[in-house]
């Protein structure tokens, strides 16, 4: 029976001809757009995650504490939550670091009447603070400590990047969504045309007592078939474009985003695109099916 249903669906697909082909192409186009934005967003997301791992918050102190007091303060900072590591940097160590950074001009530091650099703590964020909101909250908690002069570790640029990443995702979804809607309507039209062509067959099927599932399933299957075909085309297009662009774009991405390699869609994302295609086609077939 399944063979018969699939055979009927294939026959319908051929019968729909050009209009079925245009539905397949529209589905491919919508998923290609969505997939393209997805690849871009994935790489940007990778860069943000990498930068976030390297992110440190510097907590500058009003006065240099005694070693015991520094240890106690370090404990309190750790207890502030969302903190992975805390490292105390004394005034002397800060000056030494400055000398290292100045290199040949290190002697300039020796001309200073006294060490002007404050003691500080370098705070490494925990995984739980990976959202901009959590990072901002931690900064506020640390700034509220009485020994603290200032907290640096601006997350604003990171927030902006995260927002850009979200915006890209939304634009991709929006454009893909509009194209997807057009694809659904085209599949519906293709299936409706098939329905008109099959009117006599459907009448006969009903008169001989064929179950409704047998009458309607081929319509749904041919919609799903168009969707899957479109999704496969979109994936082929994405792989082709990625292979073409990658060698030219990767050095630029490494330079600007700091990513060693660009990434393609994960197997889950590929499966999602395929399922989305099947769903787009299925919905189109289902909508037309209502007119059967």
């Amino acid at each position: 029976m399944l063979g018969f249903l699939c055979g009927e669906a294939l026959r319908d697909l051929v019968r729909a001809g050009w209009i079925a082909l245009s539905s397949v192409l529209l589905i491919a186009l919508s998923l290609l757009t969505l997939g393209g934005f997805w690849v871009f967003s994935t790489n940007l997301g990778g860069a943000v995650a990498r930068w976030r791992e390297q992110l440190r918050i510097i907590v500058y102190l009003k006065t240099e504490p005694s070693p015991a007091a520094a240890g106690a303060l370090g404990q309190r900072i750790r207890a502030a939550g969302d903190v992975a590591q805390v490292r105390y940097v004394s005034k002397a160590e800060a000056l030494q670091t400055l000398r290292r950074q100045l290199g040949a001009q290190a002697a300039v530091a020796d001309t200073l009447p006294q060490n002007p650099l404050p003691a500080s703590f370098e705070v490494t964020l925990a995984e739980t603070a990976s959202t901009p909101e959590a990072t901002r909250a931690l900064v506020e908690r640390l700034a509220a400590l009485p020994e603290v002069e200032e907290v640096q570790g601006g997350t604003e640029w990171m927030e902006r990047l995260t927002q850009l990443q979200r915006l890209l995702g939304l634009v991709g979804l929006g454009v893909g969504g509009v194209l997807g809607l057009a694809a659904i309507l085209t599949v519906t039209t293709a299936t409706t045309l098939v329905l008109h062509a099959r009117r006599e067959e459907l009448d006969i099927m009903r008169l001989v007592g064929a179950p409704e599932a047998v009458i309607r399933l081929p319509l749904l299957l041919q919609g799903i078939g168009q969707g899957l075909l479109g999704a496969l085309l979109a994936l082929l297009g994405l792989v082709g474009a990625y292979r073409l662009v990658r060698p030219r774009l990767e050095p630029l991405v490494t330079l600007t985003l700091g990513l060693p390699h660009t990434a393609f869609l994960s197997p889950t994302a590929v499966a999602t695109l395929l399922v989305s295609g099947a769903l787009l086609g299925g919905v189109g077939g289902w909508l037309a099916k209502g007119r059967a």
């Binding site: 018969f4 099927m205 008169l207």
Partner: protein
């Protein structure tokens, strides 16, 4: 097999109510051959459409093979129709399929095992004397042959009841007579047959129970 109790059917055409059947009651037993006779517009086709639940009665009760047809939910209509074969005046063959495919199509949509399809389709074609025309397309058939294919398609699922709505309406008398003989053959193998025709003389020659309709009423039940 078929029982009608005070059945009526009224069609609404805008605000106008058109009665098609009024207060019709009769019973046809299992294995019986009955003829619905009457002029065009007498209500024969409406009655058949009620029997295969293409329409629902406006009043009364219809029972067909243990189904209360009027009260049957839509989801169970296919079940009722699987118990019957239907033949129409306009044959309704699928033009893009061969004679064999037209018949096999019925078995396929009903989920018949693949191995049974060909032997059963050819047995049905043999029963109507058209085995040699299996690969012909409907457009290549004469009207008489097309009607016989329609008959083969109706009997291929071995129904308990055969409904024939003016199957000889487009045929000349000689071919119509042959088709009636085929119907009698099918009936003689145990199928209940209900034939609707306006050809009173041909119906008379069948020498079977005849229910005469006029203006939507059953006016005579001659056994």
């Amino acid at each position: 097999m078929i029982e009608l109790h005070r059945v009526s059917k009224v069609f609404s055409v805008g605000p106008v109510k058109v009665p098609a059947l009024s207060d019709v009651s009769f019973r046809i037993g299992k294995g019986e051959f009955a003829v619905l006779c009457g002029p065009s517009g007498a209500g024969k086709t409406t009655l058949l459409r009620l029997l295969y639940r293409d329409e629902v009665p406006s009043g009364g009760r219809i029972d067909v093979a243990d189904y209360n047809v009027g009260a049957l939910p839509r989801s169970r209509v296919p079940e009722l129709r699987r118990a019957m074969g239907i033949v129409f005046q306009d044959v309704k063959l699928l033009p893009a399929r061969t004679v064999y495919e037209n018949i096999a199509f019925v078995l396929r949509v009903l989920g018949t095992p693949r191995a049974e399809i060909t032997p059963r389709a050819f047995a049905a074609l043999k029963a109507v004397g058209l085995s040699a025309r299996a690969q012909a397309y409907p457009a290549q058939l004469s009207q008489g042959e097309a009607q016989r294919v329609a008959l083969a398609r109706a009997i291929v699922k071995e129904p308990a009841l055969l409904l024939a709505d003016e199957p000889t309406g487009n045929l000349d008398e000689g071919i119509a007579s042959e088709l009636f003989d085929l119907l009698k053959d099918i009936w003689s193998r145990g199928t209940t047959v209900l034939l609707a025709t306006h050809q009173a003389a041909l119906a008379e020659r069948l020498n079977r129970r005849t229910l005469v309709f006029h203006g939507g009423r059953l006016v005579k039940d001659a056994r």
